[in-house]
Symmetry: C2
Subunit: 184 residues, 2 copies
DNA sequence: CGAGTTATGCTACTTCTAGTATCGATACTT
DNA sequence: AAGTATCGATACTAGAAGTAGCATAACTCG
């Protein structure tokens, strides 16, 4: 007799399925009060759970934000006939994502936190950047160093605009960014 | 009888000339312990003055860091025969500055703080970015929007590299950045 | 149904940091 | 000598990250 698809549950109270609710609450809170005031207390309250429950799942605030971003971004679409189409679509995709409410601010915030926190930097690099880097290396057939440079240019530019103006980059400038990167 | 070159001093104890010492202590502290642990207490101690004296001169930590960066960067060199030479020199100059000990980390740190602090964002934009933007507009004869885009690309890329790796961008990649921007 | 196990909510706590308040001492001008 | 503005030092408030402890809820297994 075949075992059921779901493996035998371990004993004890099961985890509440609140990850999605916490991620949504995180982005909503960051969008409403800004990264600096989006405290774990506030995020937990917005998600309707206790702060301690948040810390039982994510060890630090930075890890929570990173996980939220990984969830929010999802896989990069790598469609297109040639390098131009693929890169153009990928750049417009990340620009649109960073423009979504809360995402850009959360990204910039956790990025800033990471600058002086090697542990968080590693989390961010491993969990958020590496999957996209590897997918791009595979699809474009280009070496790691070159892909890392591309990511620096695209993401750095978009985040700098968010940081200096508080607003996502307008379409016309995203077009210019695409053109600049493609002609490289 | 002509008045002396120095205008009549106001009564009261004159301010101690410690700005330079505070700036040096700021960069040194950020370099040694990182932006996150470079507290105002620590910076003041490193400069040999009281924390309260720091707050009498700069209203917030962000303002202190910004003033320190303005002092550290100084005016952008805009030498060169044509647009290529001017831009190339300017990009290499800012890349070298961001690579100096403490400067890149301080820049990234205050930049990150600014993302969700509109007041600091204004200070950063007005005191740090605008002088360079205006000088570039004058020298290059290009509109504000285009120069802002250039700054986003160059500074954003350099800071993203600092933030993700903790290290300044290597020369080979700075060369690639110059080439990419110039061909635009 | 009862025992064992694990997750949750809640409250309280520690630690750290930005920024403020106060006050006596100091350095200058008139 | 009187007046004024700054400095150093101490103490303080407020806010946020992260932790500890405990009662309670939800589930599995016998």
């Amino acid at each position: 007799m075949p075992r059921p698809a779901t493996p035998a549950r371990t004993p004890g109270r099961p985890r509440a399925g609140v990850d999605a609710a916490v991620f949504a609450a995180t982005l909503r809170t960051v969008h409403e009060v800004g990264y600096a005031h989006a405290t774990v207390d506030r995020i937990a309250a917005a998600a309707g759970i206790a702060k301690t429950t948040v810390y039982r799942r994510w060890p630090t605030k930075g890890a929570l934000i990173t996980a939220c971003l990984v969830d929010a971004f999802g896989p990069v679409p790598l469609d297109g006939a040639d390098r131009e189409e693929i890169l153009s679509a990928a750049i417009r995709w990340i620009a649109a994502k960073i423009g979504e409410p809360g995402i850009g601010a959360a990204f910039a915030g956790v990025f800033t936190d990471a600058v002086n926190d090697p542990a968080l930097r590693q989390v961010l690099s491993t969990q958020l950047q590496d999957p996209y880097r590897l997918a791009l290396q595979d699809t474009l057939g280009e070496p790691e160093q070159r892909v890392l440079f591309l990511i620096d240019v695209v993401v750095g530019t978009l985040l700098h605009r968010m940081g200096m103006t508080g607003e996502p980059m307008v379409d016309a400038d995203v077009d210019a960014l695409v053109a600049m990167v493609l002609r490289h």
